[in-house]
């Protein structure tokens, strides 16, 4: 066998094993039900903010405690606790992506990604109101 063929085979083998070893990192978007089944395992949940229920954040009491309610894609609403500051304009977000795990009676989230309507998009209303 030629050396170049050996190298090519090794290259393909390394790439495949690298990619296969990483597959476990790709999570499917899940729901609270799945996260509750496997407590302490990290999941990513996309949902909408339940604005009917109160949000807890008081920087003076604890700047690292923010709790709110989120409704997932299957319509289940759960309490979410984020150990950090409340993101600005959180109320206005269209959807939230939460990363974290279910512990005790709340989803403990380590990262929040919010999607706000028209971040820097220009909308007609905006012009019209000027």
């Amino acid at each position: 066998m030629k050396k170049s063929s050996v190298i090519a085979l090794v290259l393909i083998a390394v790439c495949l094993s690298v990619i296969l070893s990483l597959v476990g990192d790709f999570s499917q978007d899940t729901t609270f039900a799945t996260a509750m089944d496997k407590p302490n395992k990290s999941f990513q949940i996309v949902g909408t903010l339940d604005t009917l229920q109160p949000m807890e954040y008081d920087a003076i009491k604890d700047p690292n405690h923010f709790a709110f309610f989120v409704k997932d894609k299957e319509g289940m609403t759960k309490r979410v606790v984020f150990k950090g500051t409340k993101p600005m304009d959180f109320e206005r977000s269209e959807s939230v992506t939460l990363t974290g795990s279910y512990v005790g009676d709340a989803f403990q989230c380590t990262k929040i990604l919010t999607k706000c309507p028209s971040k820097y998009k220009n909308d007609k209303e905006f012009v019209a109101s000027k």
Partner: protein, 809 residues
């Protein structure tokens, strides 16, 4: 029915639009002419077509420059009738950021890219001699396809590209405001520039990055030309020079992006494996690989095909990265993905990718048989063999990054529903750390091998001293920095080895030939970068909660630990000192320089025994409360030689939303009377008829008076407040003035019009508990090593480029 609109300046747009069309058509002519020249059999035909091609390309470049000037004129003169100026600029924008408006929008950034292609194309056209026609055919063709993104015309009912000169009223048809002919009078200001882009790095980083993007076109064009003409004889030198140019500029652009992220974003780092960052890193990796395999070809005749594939892949990846970042396909997965410009751009770029792939591979498979490969096997202990292995390692790195970054693409193509890794740092580092370890070893050892044949004993002998020094330095760093994780130890030792081996190589072998230092210096810089990345991230720690050893994400952490780490914000009440790590922190107040809100945080450090003050400094992290984007926080840094103290605001108090129950204190004063507040006093200086308070905007018919009050604290005079009282249309108005340092609000209650010129002043000073800021502080140790490494690597690449340029002549 077309109503005429008042106040519009349509001429600059018409000129601009004409130049867009001219540039498009001239690039078409240049493409055709250069193709005919390259294909022509007769020398005279070749020459005629080549001349036509060159003239057309010059016209093309000149008109692209004209487009740029027209658009800049529109932005500079604030012509908000144009959609681009309206959506990306505003009248308050300082001059230096008017340029940044170009790269905020899609059209402007494509324009910038076209300019760089045009400039590099002109240089190639003049210098390439026999390569001009086949190389410029590709360059012109790329300009044709890329230029189509800014023409904004309808072809057979399909809109191609979007014009930077589109009018606001056309873009927003149907908005009621445009039914008024004088609509422009109501549009006082533009949408403004994204505040994140209002940073000096953002003035310089995008042009450099785009020049790096543009630079990858030239090696690609040479690759196509070489395959086309089946000629690789004097092809190596120009290709290598342009490849090195791309490595230097694109590398610098990427590093500047990291610097921008570090200095103006608040995610607390310079690299986040964000898809947008990855999209520019991956082509750089393949370009670096291509330059190395080309060097192999130059010295040993091996690996020409690999080189060609690397250059094709690099340019393909550049367009692919544009597709990822510009069409919105990344969607939720990126923090700073640019806005999606819709399906039309998406189809345009996918079409471009398919064209590149078809032409490249068709030429490659048709003509690469003509490339003679050496018959003999490569020997194992040669420089070329290990350089080749190194290039393949770079390729593995590129494949892994691309695979994960492209998850949204896989989802779209195969209908999957994969979510990107929940923890990207952990995900990428897990693989890329080992790739970096292998690369560090290779860049240390490979140059000690010789091309073709090496005496292995000599190499081993040369390594002994290097290994001893590496061991000593690694032990010192390891103990001093408490590096105790296996991956981190590997990275540290190999990075130190890369640094020492390259210095050793310079000392031992090449000391007299300065021009040959390029590669060693670049590799030395790369080693330093790795070391800097390791030291700054391994011992990066949040001091706002005294948590030590936030790791690289190397070991799986339980969520409980992650939650702990998330408790990293500290609450500071105004003027109430708080302990944080070795420092005592005091929030002294805030000040506003529109649109930025600066928070004044004082750090002091005391000697624990003697209580003597050791150091004192003030940081000004800033925040913008942007109506459209929420809290935008930019850090401020205290730089020490061996670390940065990185401070940023995570939560601010919206003072207007706090219920203000405090009553004003009223006091009647005559000139030079004193009013006392909690931590100082005010002296009333008298009534001014000429109001100088900048917040007061006079209107005709106003009767306005103001009072000047000088504020003193215990150290002496500090500031002046000037509340205003004015009558406008039979209405009394009061303009309150604020001393932010003291949270003191002052207004005029009544002007008494008596002999003594007395005035009723009202003031209040809400308690400090009502004023606070939540912040976070992170220490990045030895981040300077990373910065120095970056600079050295770039300088090394440039030095290598100069060497090749000298040889070309």
């Amino acid at each position: 029915m077309n109503p005429t609109f008042q106040g519009e300046h349509l001429l600059p747009g018409q000129i601009g639009h004409f130049l867009v069309l001219l540039s498009f058509i001239s690039s078409l002519v240049a493409t055709i002419a250069y193709i005919f020249s390259a294909q022509a059999k007769l020398l005279t035909n070749q020459e005629d077509w080549r001349k036509l091609g060159r003239v057309s390309f010059f016209v093309h470049f000149a008109s692209i420059l004209g487009v740029f000037v027209s658009l800049f004129y529109i932005i500079f003169t604030h012509r908000f009738e144009y959609h681009y100026a309206w959506s990306h600029s505003s009248t308050v924008l300082p001059f230096k950021y008017l340029l940044s408006c170009f790269w905020e929008g899609q059209e402007g950034s494509f324009l910038l890219w076209l300019i760089w292609h045009g400039l590099l194309g002109c240089i190639v056209a003049v210098n390439a001699k026999k390569w001009e026609a086949p190389v410029m055919a590709t360059v012109s063709g790329v300009q044709l396809i890329l230029g189509a993104t800014i023409i904004g015309l309808y072809f057979f009912g399909e809109k191609i590209g979007s014009s930077p000169f589109a009018l606001l009223r056309h873009q927003m048809q149907g908005a009621p405001i445009f039914q008024q002919p004088n609509y422009l009078e109501f549009i006082k200001d533009g949408n403004g520039l994204n505040p994140l882009l209002q940073n000096y790095w953002m003035v310089i980083h995008p042009p450099i990055l785009f020049m790096g993007f543009a630079a990858t076109l030239i090696p690609f064009a040479y690759t196509i030309a070489g395959l086309w003409k089946k000629d690789f004889t004097d092809w190596v030198k120009p290709t290598l020079s342009w490849g090195l140019f791309g490595v230097a500029v694109l590398g610098l652009g990427i590093c500047m992006g990291g610097a921008w992220a570090y200095e103006s974003l608040s995610f607390g780092g310079y690299w986040a494996w964000d898809p947008v960052e990855n999209a520019s890193l991956v082509p750089w990796l393949t370009l670096v690989a291509g330059v190395h395999t080309l060097n192999i070809y130059k010295h040993s005749k091996f690996s020409l095909k690999t080189t060609l594939l690397f250059f094709i892949l690099t340019f393909f990846l550049i367009i692919y990265s544009t597709y990822l970042t510009r069409t919105g396909i990344l969607g939720d997965t990126s923090v700073h993905a640019f806005t999606g410009e819709g399906a039309s751009l998406s189809i345009h770029l996918i079409g471009f990718l398919i064209i590149i792939a078809i032409i490249s591979f068709w030429l490659f498979f048709k003509n690469s048989k003509a490339i003679a490969s050496p018959q003999k096997e490569e020997a194992t202990w040669t420089r070329e063999f290990w350089m080749y292995i190194g290039s393949l390692v770079l390729l593995i790195s590129a494949i892994q990054i691309t695979f994960t970054t492209s998850i949204p693409v896989w989802n779209k193509m195969f209908g999957l529903k994969l979510a990107p890794p929940a923890d990207p740092m952990y995900h990428y580092n897990r693989i890329q750390i080992w790739i970096a370890v292998v690369l560090a070893v290779l860049i240390g050892i490979t140059q000690f091998f010789k091309y073709k044949n090496t005496e292995i004993k000599k190499v081993v002998k040369d390594q002994i001293a290097t290994l001893i020094i590496t061991t000593i330095i690694s032990l010192i760093i390891g103990f001093h920095q408490h590096i105790n994780q296996i991956q981190a130890i590997f990275i540290m030792v190999t990075a130190v080895y890369a640094v020492i081996a390259n210095i050793g190589y310079l000392i031992k072998i090449k000391v007299k030939e300065v021009t040959k230092w390029g590669a060693s210096i670049a590799h030395f810089g790369f080693g330093l970068m790795l070391l800097g990345i390791l030291l700054s991230s391994f011992n990066k720690h949040v001091i706002s909660k005294n948590k030590l050893n936030i790791d690289l994400g190397l070991q799986g952490k339980t969520d409980q630990e992650t939650h702990q780490e998330n408790q990293q914000n500290i609450l500071l009440f105004r003027n109430t000192p708080a302990e944080m790590s070795d420092y005592t922190l005091t929030y002294l107040g805030d000040s506003v320089v529109a649109p930025n809100h600066f928070y004044k945080i004082q750090y002091t450090k005391f000697d624990k025994q003697t209580n003597k003050q050791l150091e004192k400094f003030i940081l000004y992290p800033l925040a913008q409360i942007n109506p459209k984007m929420g809290l935008i926080s930019s850090p401020d840094n205290k730089k020490y030689w061996d670390r940065d103290v990185f401070t940023y605001v995570t939560k601010t108090l919206d003072k207007s939303s706090v219920p203000d129950t405090m009553q004003y204190t009223k006091q009647t004063v005559k000139p030079n009377d004193t009013l006392y507040f909690k931590n100082g006093y005010l002296i009333f200086r008298g009534i001014n008829k000429n109001v100088s308070n900048p917040n007061y905007i006079p209107e005709q018919g106003d009767i306005a008076l103001s009072t000047q009050l000088d504020a003193y604290n215990l150290d002496g005079k500090t500031n002046t407040v000037e509340p205003v009282y004015f009558i406008r249309g039979n209405m009394q108005n009061r303009l309150e003035d604020t001393l932010h340092n003291y949270n003191l609000y002052v207004r005029i209650a009544k002007i008494n019009m008596d002999k003594e010129n007395t005035v009723d002043i009202e003031f209040k000073q809400p308690a400090a508990e009502n004023d606070y800021v939540v912040m976070k502080a992170i220490v990045f140790p030895h981040i300077n090593i990373l910065g120095i490494g970056t600079v050295i690597m770039t300088l090394g690449s440039i030095l290598a480029l100069f060497r090749r340029l000298k040889q070309t002549k």
